[in-house]
Symmetry: C2
Subunit: 122 residues, 2 copies
DNA sequence: CGGTATCCAGGATGATACTG
DNA sequence: CAGTATCATCCTGGATACCG
């Protein structure tokens, strides 16, 4: 999902939000930066081993473009770059928290379901 | 994004949640069903005119598979099908709400930004 | 270290037409 | 109405090579 709000004029709040945070790995990236901040690219990669580097960088760039995160480049050798949530990015904490909470509920729900099925087999 | 939790063994809560609700239009669909329920396919399409029918149906099927929504088929002519959030799907309300709230914040943030840029031009 | 460039493959998404 | 089938396109992922 690409950033689109610059080209469109009308958006509901959910459409606007989803156009920014709906990308494949964006919530995961924001989750990382809520755990620890700032983070270097290599550190984000440790948090998210399933994301390949190219995709990770793409999503980071898009988040940067939308001012969700800030990218700090230190002019040193070897290069050092740090990522950090910006003002509006930090406000995503309730979104990430509610998603994680629901994930917990869903896990319990799945386990209840497993138990039910096992009972049915008796 | 496809449902994956059936094949994988280890998941953080966020990964589990995202594997279920991370699909391109799933949050939007859930948003619809929180506005009004039950809904027929054609009604969801009115809520979400940007989603093509094939994709909408796919995402509905995946959500059904994961027990987030329930699909009721009435054996009438012409066909009548209704969609409704299930027990665990209803618990997604805080997720959708927090996303909408953030969207509002982001919109304000963008407008502040526009004003700043206009001031800079003076 | 933190990228970019390229190629290739597969899956996700979209547009359109068609059907029971 | 609620889909399915088909075809085209875009997004994503993996591997690799290379650079400042």
């Amino acid at each position: 999902m690409e950033t689109q709000y610059k080209e469109k004029t009308f958006f509901t709040s959910k459409d606007l939000a989803l156009s920014v945070i709906g990308g494949r790995w964006k919530i995961a990236i924001i989750w990382c930066l809520l755990q620890q901040s700032p983070l270097r690219l290599s550190e984000i990669q440790k948090y998210l081993p399933d994301v390949n580097q190219r995709m990770l960088i793409r999503q980071l760039r898009e988040l940067e473009e939308d001012k969700i995160i800030t990218r700090y480049v230190y002019p040193v050798v070897p290069p050092k770059v740090e990522y950090e949530l910006g003002e509006i990015g930090l406000l995503l904490e309730p979104v990430v928290t509610s998603i994680c909470d629901w994930g917990d509920n869903f896990r319990e729900y799945l386990e209840k379901d497993v138990n039910k099925n096992q009972l049915n087999k008796i």
